[in-house]
């Protein structure tokens, strides 16, 4: 049995220790906002927070996530400035990558509430979007860093 703490809740999962955390989160626990995209840590669709840092859940064996605080998109508060900014800017198109983008951006703003352009690009460059919403993602991050709402 593996014990996990996700979004402040404790889970016990009967799973082999080397299974990627991603599969446990979305296919066992059905927290499906975390997405599979590439399985090699190159697209960012599976991004979650582990102890507050943005991590690729496809690259972490579930055993290594034991005893750490995991947050998924479902655990990010509804009124989180980044979620509000995402809606205000109408960022998503197909939406598949967006939960990963949001988790990446939320971790960035937690670390640096007013990131520079360079810092935004550095933080977000590992998250792919095939629909081409990058420009809106940037606007939403800037909006959230200003306090979450436009005048």
């Amino acid at each position: 049995m593996i014990s996990l703490e996700i979004n402040g809740k404790s889970y016990k999962v009967d799973v082999a220790p080397d299974v990627p955390l991603l599969w446990v989160i979305r296919e066992r626990l059905k927290l499906t906002g975390t997405k599979y995209g590439c399985g090699i840590g190159m697209c960012g669709s599976c991004t979650v927070h582990i102890d507050g840092k943005a991590q690729r859940s496809c690259q972490i064996a579930v055993v290594d996530a034991q005893g750490r605080k995991i947050t998924t998109i479902e655990g990010l508060p509804e009124n989180h400035p980044i979620k509000k900014a995402w809606i205000q800017e109408q960022v998503p198109q197909c939406g598949y990558c967006q939960t990963g983008q949001i988790m990446q951006a939320a971790a960035l703003l937690a670390e640096d509430p007013h990131p520079s352009e360079t810092k935004i690009l550095q933080a977000m460059d590992g998250n792919l979007c095939r629909c081409g919403t990058y420009s809106k993602i940037k606007s939403a991050i800037r909006l959230a860093s200003k306090g979450g709402s436009r005048p």
């Binding site: 799973v15 082999a16 299974v19 990627p20 599969w23 979305r26 296919e27 066992r28 059905k30 927290l31 499906t32 906002g33 975390t34 997405k35 599979y36 995209g37 590439c38 399985g39 090699i40 190159m42 697209c43 669709s45 998924t72 998109i73 479902e74 990010l76 509804e78 979620k83 995402w86 809606i87 109408q90 960022v91 998503p92 198109q93 197909c94 939406g95 598949y96 990558c97 967006q98 939960t99 949001i102 935004i120 690009l121 977000m124 460059d125 590992g126 998250n127 792919l128 979007c129 095939r130 629909c131 081409g132 919403t133 990058y134 420009s135 809106k136 993602i137 940037k138």
Partner: protein
């Protein structure tokens, strides 16, 4: 908002209380029916759109198109809500099941593609909304015993103008549902429109932001098995041996099942299925085309330029024009196979039972899924439920049914629900790609720099021959020559010649299809001609489009907004291109830096002007332009499917790179106000960006890019030839 419903629930809401309107496509136009009239119709009768107003004032619009990011779940209900004068906060949408009733009235099939959702559904949806509005007005007038002309709709209510009495639509549904449906309801005047033309926020935003939007990969059924398939590394290779026992020995693996595409492992969990697949250690032999590679394909495509093709267009006398040329220019352009690379890999969850079948699938092709299920299961259409989920990208890939077929076969052979999720590598290597193609163009200029002749030969595999063989015309695949056979430049002598060259690499529809490649060759070559004629590329284009005011207008707007002609720093330049596709005109100006030393290109900004006729939701139009040009830029700068040893070698985002945020330009979209016929918006943003960037690179450093992608080595090679 809940966006998916089961068929049972759907039937319940349509048959129950309230006012419902069905729209039937007929050869003469559309016929509108109420639920009562529907029930009297013979089984063969086919209504195609439903609108339902419930006693609690909810307005439900059933959407027969797939949501893959292009906003149809919002824009189609907007059209109905506007004619109905509904209160938007009471409007809901529901996803249509796969059924004859929901076929696209123009296509006769239930599918999403060709940037056609609004174009095809606009008229029937407006009529449905307008008919319901008229019925509600009549119902209110009867209720109050006044003339209909004394009543007016007002944001979800009917008002009696002189007494100011009000009844909500919900209160009127019972009376209204007894009325005959008017066949030619008056449509609103433009100034009466409440929603159309406004940036209404999308219905699907909250679910996509909080993670609850259900994509195909988020489907779960009790007792389901996960399936994973091992596939040949080369086209048509045979599986000669594999370690079945090792796979069966993996904890959780239930079955190893042969399937036409390879060998499948079915297991209780996804990790067990994937581990089981890894344990198969297959040995493949006899690749049918062992020498197939990127290099061999390039050689073959070029050599096919010498083969006589089929004439797709023949205006005037090109041979004489080329002979009489003061200046003659010839160029060869080459574009690679491209992968769709939707962020959500192909997947399908199917449950086949003796008496029925349910399929959860992100599909652009409900009719195709239904037909596939009928063929595989032998069931009747009414026994098959297709549940369309959100699509994590479509771009044409999800028009195909290969992954649906596999899930159905695996459910059938295991007797359990089967959830099949392709690995990214499977998705990349088993795509039906945007066709590789090569064009040779010859043109003649007279002494005044006017274009007198244009001879265009394209070597390209056929998509239609596989997908729509019935639409092949005299051996011509319209997808291969679109943008060429209808090229708008006013050149007196033009030929377009098509050499069909099918390779072992399967091809399919990729966002903007033929325009995705032909816009690059045409717009790059026009730029070559402009420079050869010593003219400004914008002025040169305008001079060739005197009879095409919409083309002129988007070019002028994009150029003006981008500051065309204003000086830029050394090594930087602007490039321009335009293309008409799917009924919409789009011009784009790219601001680019090119580095002579290392061949790198940086695209700073793209300014886009679009004329798509009247617009339903300008926010969605802008977003589609931005998304389309960003995806087009990704392919222009980075994407190429590599082949070796008879199969696809590109496997994941490490060796098939997509554009990342640091490479994405600033985007500035301008919608040109237009009263023209509605055009599409999902695809037309893609085609102009690649040539706009290439044309900017030429102006910046003098390198003419005739091959995509514009990787540094391609730019350096082009620089050498200057």
């Amino acid at each position: 908002m809940k966006t998916t419903i089961t068929r049972r629930h759907f039937l319940k809401i349509t048959a129950g209380a309230g006012l419902s309107i069905a729209v039937a496509a007929t050869p003469m136009g559309y016929r509108l029916l109420s639920a009562g009239e529907m029930e009297k119709e013979p089984f063969s009768f086919r209504p195609s759109v439903w609108l339902k107003i419930l006693p609690d004032n909810m307005v439900i619009v059933v959407v027969n198109k797939s949501e893959m990011g292009q906003g149809v779940y919002t824009s189609l209900p907007m059209i109905v809500a506007d004619e109905l004068d509904a209160d938007w906060k009471n409007v809901r949408m529901e996803v249509a099941p796969a059924a004859d009733a929901y076929k696209d009235p123009e296509w006769g099939t239930q599918a999403t593609g060709g940037s056609s959702s609004i174009r095809h559904m606009h008229e029937p949806l407006r009529k449905a909304g307008a008919a319901a509005r008229e019925m509600l007005l009549i119902a209110a007038a009867r209720e109050w015993n006044v003339g209909v002309k004394e009543c007016a709709v007002d944001f979800g209510k009917v008002r009696h103008l002189t007494s100011n009495r009000m009844l909500t639509y919900g209160q009127l549904t019972n009376e209204a549902s007894k009325l005959e449906v008017p066949q030619n309801p008056a449509l609103k005047m433009e100034k009466q429109l409440r929603y159309i033309g406004k940036e209404i926020p999308r219905f699907d935003m909250h679910d996509k932001v909080n993670g609850t939007a259900q994509f195909g990969i988020d489907s779960f059924l009790p007792g389901m098995l996960y399936a994973a398939i091992i596939r040949p590394p080369a086209y048509e290779a045979n599986l000669v041996s594999f370690n079945k026992e090792a796979a069966e020995g993996v904890a959780g693996v239930r079955a190893v099942v042969p399937i036409h595409s390879g060998m499948a492992v079915c297991a209780d969990t996804i990790d067990a299925a994937w581990k089981g697949r890894d344990a198969l250690k297959p040995d493949w032999k006899n690749a049918r085309h062992p020498d197939l590679s990127t290099k061999s394909l390039e050689k073959d495509f070029i050599s096919h330029l010498e083969i006589k093709g089929i004439i797709a267009r023949n205006d005037g006398d090109v041979t004489s024009a080329l002979k009489a040329a003061a200046t003659r220019i010839e160029s060869v352009y080459q574009l690679p196979f491209l992968s769709h690379a939707t962020m959500e890999p192909m997947n399908c969850t199917a449950h086949v039972r003796p008496d029925g079948c349910d399929i959860w699938v992100p599909t652009q092709n409900q009719s195709g899924v239904l037909k596939t299920a009928m063929q595989i299961t032998g069931l009747k259409p009414e026994q098959i439920n297709v549940h369309t989920t959100f699509l994590g990208g479509g771009f044409g890939r999800r028009f195909e049914k290969d992954f649906v077929e596999e899930a159905l076969l695996l459910s059938l052979s295991t007797g359990k629900p089967a959830k099949l999720v392709w690995k990214r590598e499977e998705d990349m290597q088993n795509d039906l790609y945007r066709p590789m193609n090569v064009s040779r163009i010859q043109a003649s200029l007279d002494n005044d720099g006017r274009v007198t002749g244009w001879s265009h030969k394209i070597v390209c595999p056929s998509i239609f021959a596989r997908v729509f063989p019935q639409y092949m015309k005299n051996g011509i695949d319209n997808a291969a020559v679109e943008g060429l056979e209808n090229m708008e430049y006013e050149v007196p002598n033009i030929t377009v010649e098509y050499v069909r060259f099918d390779t072992p690499v399967p091809v399919g529809f990729w966002r903007s299809v033929g325009s995705s490649h032909n816009a690059f060759t045409v717009e790059s070559f026009v730029d070559e001609l402009a420079h050869a004629a010593g003219k400004d590329p914008l002025e040169f284009r305008l001079g060739l489009l005197k009879k095409h005011p919409r083309a002129q207008r988007v070019l002028q707007v994009a150029a003006e907004k981008a500051g065309w002609g204003k000086p830029m720093a050394k090594g930087q330049a602007r490039g321009i291109a335009y293309h008409m596709s799917f009924g919409s005109y789009v011009a784009e100006v790219a601001e680019v830096s090119a580095n002579r030393k290392d061949g790198t290109i940086k695209v700073h900004k793209v300014t886009c002007a679009v004329d798509c006729g009247s617009t339903v939701n300008p926010g969605i139009v802008s977003a589609q332009m931005m998304g389309g040009l960003t995806m087009g830029l990704s392919s222009a700068l980075k994407e190429k499917v590599e082949l070796a040893d008879g199969g696809v070698k590109s496997a994941n985002f490490g060796d098939y790179e997509l554009l990342r945020m640091s490479e994405a330009p600033e985007v500035d979209v301008h919608i040109v106000k237009s009263d023209e016929k509605l055009g599409g918006i999902g695809e037309p943003g893609v085609p102009p960006v690649a040539p706009a960037v290439a044309n900017a690179v030429f102006t910046a450093v003098g390198a003419r890019i005739r091959q995509l992608p514009m990787k540094p080595e391609t730019v350096l090679e082009a620089l050498k030839q200057t």
